[in-house]
Amino acid sequence: MSNRIIINTVINGEPTEFLADERDSLLEALRERIGLTGVKEGCNNGNCGACAVIMDGRLVNSCLVLAAETEGANITTVEGLAKGGELTPLQQTFLEDAALQCGICTPGFLVAATALLEQNPHPSEHEIRYWLAGNLCRCTGYDKIIRAVQHAAERSA
């Protein structure tokens, strides 16, 4: 049987202690152990961005991080984006611009775009495309996603 370890983190602002298998990825721990199923699995090997989270200020694919590596880390998932009952400008523009169809890629895009706008509040279309190239969406052709990010950037101008 597998070995279990106790990990202490801060997730979406809450001190969170959890028990994980030493083989668990952060993605598995978030989904299956902690219940943050807004973090999605699309490939489990770093190629789709559906599992994106912000860890200590860095955008990472949680399927490529071991849960054991997150001791002491500060993690933000899609569930932690909206604060105090208000959607963020990105969440709002994703809705208004119909930037999602099936919605499975949406948490990853929102987390990645949030990280982008934190670093670069007024990105060009190419900068948005470059930053989001690690996130796959099969439904939209990206057009409305790119526009939603542009509109969110305009809104927080």
């Binding site: 049987m1 119909a98 939209t140």
Partner: protein, 755 residues
């Protein structure tokens, strides 16, 4: 059309009802489920493309601590060969269906399921897979359609398949050809004889995957009382119920399928793969819930891609551009079991045109690849790519503008297709004219190594059964229940049609998608049918409410029923009596009780869809890499109920078609092992591979729908293949007849042959 314009809600762009859940991570997709005591399971799969299973031994796996149960084919029911009528849809070959879910004597593709195992956690289940011992006798694989059709090819299904090379040949001798379709119209030989120019070309398209980002998943509980509940992300809960009941050998009524949110399907999430395994494991465990989901590798290797194809197209025309005759030969890979979309490909091949003399034949051929599933406009991208490429070549040869030539031969209302169907009210000509009038087509394309291409696409669209159940709530809102899983905004398009019909605000409609015990039979979300047929059911349910509200108002006012009529969100009676919807809703509970409207519909008056795309490319002469510079997609959408989601369907379909044209393909080695089974190597377009995709919505309402709706989802995947290929030709002078035109393939064509 029953309803009349101008509409108040149809044609607007409200936020979707399920939107907040989907931007906050709250929406529950199939693998998000967690039930008390739940176990995790994985599937053991074949490492060989073609082999006989000699023996399976699970004893070591079962001895591993944490492993709770193993299912092999021995746990499934018996099924003999042949077709059986399942009372819903066309007859199915139960043995093939079962064999695909869990291999019988033989594995017929790499990744074919041979067993499944449930354990306390995922890692243990994974460890157990390596401990299940399977002994194989490896056979030579048959990997592509043309090899499989040779008389010398190894037979994948022994003597079971006897589709022939000709009509006379059918049923005569065993082969890998499972089926043959043929359509004929006019006199093809005479048509070619009257032509000034005849061009015949061969084409190939790769096998492509639907590429939905959410892997397949299923959770099942086989309760001790025999009731089975399946939670899954599927395009059709009722088809999952039917297929699972067949495979498990239980009555349909013992299964309830609960729709979870679905992360994309495109046709690929119609078949069952995991559901029967999860159910049987749960049964073996005496009623413990079992959850399963696939890895990306499993999705690519073992769930339905679309057919790799070979086609040969011959078209004859007059020097003035009049099309005289066409001969279309299509051979489609079905994968390990029969059932490619060659029939639909054959029906659509010549769809945009009126051609007096035509012969179309199609072959459904088994090969050692995963069994194909539907993929957006199944069969049509490949067949129309071939035809649109030849049309482009003819236009160039006779010196005619490619759109002028298409317009000269455009199918119109009343045009008969070779398969016998006659076109209804269609927007084909309007789409072609909109292309010619578009800023993109009128613009000049400048610069070296750049080119422009156009292509048309046709898809017939589907109707099928849908149900709706709408309850008036005392606060004046309406709870709307349907069975149509929402892949891309159909809760919104349904709620909008209900609000429009009742004349109430969109926000006052609360749509829900419910399980198979809670609503009437509803076909899959597929075939571009859900906004059309589901919308029709919703419309009928609303009309049912209107009638009952009129009756109730008449009763309250104590007037004659005929003196009351519903109009614009209110019930009107004599002497200026009026109830707003909200006022009457509030009175319902104490004037006789709640009102709900029901409808079960099965509409056949679908409106066919036409699309035309314009594509500008730049080709790097040194590397063969193609960059899309500009892309415009024009489409007759009937009535755009929610234009943003209509545009989204078009943009998404176009980008999948661009993937088919440029970068996606199944790549197998000589042993039949897929060598690119990850999202890194199976190259779907990323944000950096695409420009913005401009859309032009042409609205020619479908007279066979209350709001003029025609399906919009599938047709946009069809034109890109030829639009891109024609643009590459325009840029380089090279006709690409084998897709994808990735740098490797394109460079081979562009470089002069070695001396």
């Amino acid at each position: 059309m029953v309803a009349t314009e101008p509409y108040k809600i149809v044609g607007t762009r409200p936020v979707r009802p399920d939107g907040v859940d989907k931007v906050t991570g709250r929406a529950a997709y199939g693998s998000d489920i967690k039930l008390p005591g739940m176990l995790y399971a994985r599937v053991k799969r074949s490492p060989h493309a073609h082999a006989i299973i000699k023996k399976i031994d699970a004893s070591k796996a079962l001895a591993l601590p944490g492993v709770k149960a193993v299912v092999t084919r021995a746990d499934f029911r018996e099924a003999g060969p042949g077709l059986i009528d399942i009372g819903e849809g066309p007859p199915v070959n139960l043995k093939f269906m079962l064999d695909n879910v869990c291999a019988g004597d033989k594995v017929v593709y790499k990744g074919h399921a041979v067993a499944s195992v449930a354990a306390t956690d995922l890692h243990t289940a994974e460890d157990a897979l390596n401990l299940i011992e399977v002994e194989y006798e490896v056979l030579p694989p048959v990997m592509n359609v043309r090899d499989a059709m040779l008389e010398s090819a190894p037979l994948i299904h022994g003597n079971e398949l006897t589709g022939g090379l000709t009509a006379a040949d059918m049923g005569k001798r065993p082969s890998n050809i499972a089926n043959r379709v043929e359509f004929e119209m006019g006199d093809v030989d005479a048509g070619f004889a009257q032509s000034d120019i005849v061009i015949e070309r061969e084409f190939e398209t790769a096998m492509y995957h639907q590429g939905y980002i959410e892997p397949h998943n299923a959770t099942a509980l086989w309760n001790k009382d025999g009731d089975i509940t399946i939670w899954t992300s599927t395009q059709g809960t009722f088809s999952v119920r039917t297929a699972s009941a067949m495979i498990l050998g239980v009555p349909v009524s013992s299964i309830k399928v609960v729709p979870m949110e679905i992360g994309g399907g495109f046709g690929g999430k119609i078949p069952v793969y995991l559901e029967p395994h999860a159910a049987l494991l749960s049964k073996k465990l005496g009623g413990v819930p079992v959850k399963m989901w696939m890895t990306r590798e499993e999705v690519l290797e073992a769930t339905g891609p679309t057919s790799g194809t070979y086609s040969r197209v011959k078209i004859g025309a007059k020097n003035d551009g009049t099309l005289m005759a066409a001969n279309v030969h299509l051979a489609f890979e079905a994968g390990g079991f029969p059932g490619s979309p060659v029939g639909a490909g054959a029906m659509c091949a010549l769809g945009p045109y009126s051609i007096p003399n035509a012969f179309v034949e199609g072959f459904d051929v088994v090969v050692n690849r995963p069994k194909v599933a539907a993929y957006r406009g199944p069969g049509a991208p490949a067949s129309e790519y071939a035809v649109e490429s030849v049309i482009d070549e003819i236009a160039e040869r006779i010196g005619m503008d490619p759109m002028d030539m298409r317009l000269k031969n455009a199918a119109v209302e009343g045009t008969r297709r070779p398969d016998g169907a006659t076109m209804g009210v269609i927007g084909n000509v309007q789409v072609m004219e909109a292309i010619k009038d578009s800023p993109h087509y009128k613009s000049e394309l400048e610069g070296e190594n750049r080119g422009r291409g156009v292509a048309m696409g046709f898809w017939f669209n589907a109707g099928m059964e849908s149900a709706a159940y709408a309850t008036v709530v005392s606060d004046g809102t309406v709870a709307l229940v349907t069975g149509a899983t929402d892949i891309g905004g159909t809760r919104a398009s349904h709620a909008m049609q209900l609000a429009e019909t009742l004349g109430i605000p969109y926000d006052d409609v609360k749509p829900h998608v419910v399980d198979t015990d809670s609503i009437g039979w509803t076909g899959v979300t597929g075939g571009s049918r859900t906004t059309f047929a589901g919308g029709w059911a919703v419309y009928e349910a609303a009309m049912d409410i209107r009638v009952q509200m009129e009756e109730r108002a008449a009763k309250i006012w104590e007037v004659d029923r005929d003196q009351v009529h519903y109009d614009n969100g209110a019930v009107h009676g004599p002497d200026g009596k009026v109830f707003s919807f909200k006022e009457l809703a509030a009175q319902l509970p104490h004037t006789g009780g709640t009102i709900s409207g029901h409808a079960d519909v099965n509409p056949t008056t679908v409106g066919a869809a036409f699309a035309g795309h314009i594509c500008d490319v730049e080709v790097d002469p040194d590397t063969g890499k193609v960059t899309i510079l500009r892309y415009t997609a024009v489409q007759d959408v009937g009535t755009a109920v929610h234009p943003s989601y209509v545009e989204g369907q078009i943009q998404g379909g176009a980008s999948q078609g661009i993937g088919m044209a440029l970068s996606e393909e199944y790549f197998y080695d000589e042993n039949g092992v897929m060598r690119n089974s990850s999202f890194l190597d199976y190259r779907m377009p990323t944000t950096l591979d695409l420009p913005m995709i401009d859309t032009i919505l042409v609205e020619v309402p479908n007279p066979g729908h209350p709001y003029g709706v025609r399906g919009v989802g599938e047709v946009p995947i069809i034109p890109p293949l030829a639009a891109v290929a024609n643009a590459i030709y325009n840029a380089t002078g090279v006709r690409v007849r084998k897709l994808p035109a990735n740098p490797r393939n394109l460079l081979e064509e562009m470089l002069p042959p070695e001396a």
